[in-house]
């Protein structure tokens, strides 16, 4: 286990309640599981199974098609997908072909890693596959993996695949109307959430949309849907909220912090009306 916070019995969702939630008590959140490098497979599971279970479980909860695709691709033990899986993750392949990255990919690909491997993001799987060195003479499974990894990692197919799955997530949860808007908002407001990348910024916005209260608010003459979640207090001792604004298409129009009069005027048009009225 490579995340020390996971040992902290008193920590909830890795001590970041805005980014993560954990209704079951077992996982930080869907996105955290998908994006974290710190998830380990359990005893008796090899990395291939872990991928299948993890991605299948989580993607199914988000999108059934995505879950099936990932389950087939990453945990199947036969056919082309199986070859890809075994070769890429080293279940039956030779660890030397995967360099130090083998330790990420599971239990049987490196002698020192006997139970469980670190689970990378599904993008990292593709991306890593594109630059894994092959110094020796790879076996058949590794060759298939290399071919597929090279294709997936370097071609437009990879980008399309990545965009396809990104679309599944962002269409479900909402995204900015374009990449430039996301980047512009991240540049202006990323620091308010300690986000180190635009992806992290967007992921945090999704957490607020999933876990916060949905509210109505008026902006530029339009009644819009917003999502608010308490972050704590500012230096003035006022409640500080994460605020996601959306438009009529469900696209995110803003994600920033609000507190004090700004927050209550936005929600209720009155700084003295300090009631959050959630809507369905």
């Amino acid at each position: 286990m490579n995340n020390p916070q996971a040992f902290n019995r008193y920590a909830y969702t890795l001590n970041n309640p805005i980014r993560y939630n954990d209704p079951s008590g077992h996982f930080a959140s869907l996105e955290e599981v998908l994006q974290s490098h710190s998830v380990t497979s359990g005893p008796g599971l090899n990395a291939g199974n872990s991928f299948g279970l993890t991605f299948g479980f989580n993607l199914s909860s988000l999108n059934q098609v995505g879950g099936m695709l990932f389950s087939q691709n990453f945990s199947s033990s036969s056919g082309l997908s199986g070859g890809f899986t075994n070769g890429l993750f080293g279940h039956n392949g030779n660890p030397q072909y995967f360099g130090h990255h083998s330790s990420y990919f599971g239990c049987n690909c490196h002698p020192s890693v006997t139970q469980g491997g670190f689970v990378p993001t599904y993008w990292e799987i593709f991306e890593t596959a594109s630059y894994i060195p092959f110094p020796g003479n790879p076996g058949p499974a590794a060759k298939v993996a290399a071919a597929l990894g090279g294709i997936l990692g370097s071609s437009k197919f990879f980008q399309k695949t990545k965009n396809f799955f990104s679309g599944i997530f962002t269409n479900k949860l909402g995204s900015f109307a374009g990449e430039s808007k996301l980047l512009a908002h991240f540049e202006k407001h990323g620091a308010e959430f300690g986000a180190k990348s635009a992806d992290e910024y967007l992921s945090t916005a999704h957490q607020v949309m999933q876990n916060g209260n949905k509210v109505k608010y008026l902006y530029k003459g339009e009644t819009r849907n917003g999502f608010v979640q308490l972050m704590g207090t500012n230096r003035k001792g006022q409640s500080k909220f994460a605020f996601v604004g959306t438009n009529s298409k469900g696209q995110i129009t803003t994600f920033h912090t609000k507190s004090g009069k700004d927050f209550w005027k936005t929600l209720n048009g009155n700084a003295k009306d300090k009631t959050i009225r959630p809507v369905k």
């Binding site: 430039s180 512009a184 540049e187 202006k188 530029k220 230096r235 129009t253 009069k261 700004d262």
Partner: protein
């Protein structure tokens, strides 16, 4: 009492709809329209009031009045004289926290670094 100004909208950002560039008393300010209940247009004037959230405050060694944007976001360094709950940095910005917590700086020139300068578009009375 709110410090109300009439500001002319010079620019609306195409990517960030809350970003507005205003002309207020001859001062050009790019800030964040946190509260804007009605549609606004470039070239028109609207009643506005400015405010800020978190800030760092210190006493100035000089008596400077200025308003300087610190980066590409909406953070500013505001310098001016503190008068009760209002600081005059070329425009007057009121914050009750200034008088409740920094009464000992009342009447002195201060420097405030604010994380985000917000503007509220006010309904015409």
């Amino acid at each position: 009492m709110m410090n109300k100004y009439y500001a002319k909208v010079l620019k609306l950002d195409p990517d960030i709809e809350e970003e507005v560039t205003l002309d207020v008393n001859g001062i050009e300010i790019t800030c964040f329209a946190s509260v804007c209940p009605f549609k606004i247009s470039v070239g028109k004037e609207y009643p506005v009031a400015f405010e800020f959230d978190d800030f760092d405050i210190s006493e100035q060694s000089t008596e400077e009045t200025s308003l300087a944007r610190l980066g590409s976001d909406y953070s500013y360094e505001l310098k001016g004289k503190l008068d009760g709950d209002t600081v005059d940095v070329g425009i007057r910005i009121r914050d009750e926290f200034l008088s409740s917590e920094y009464g000992y700086l009342d009447g002195k020139f201060v420097s405030l670094k604010v994380g985000r300068l917000d503007v509220e578009f006010l309904e015409e009375e």
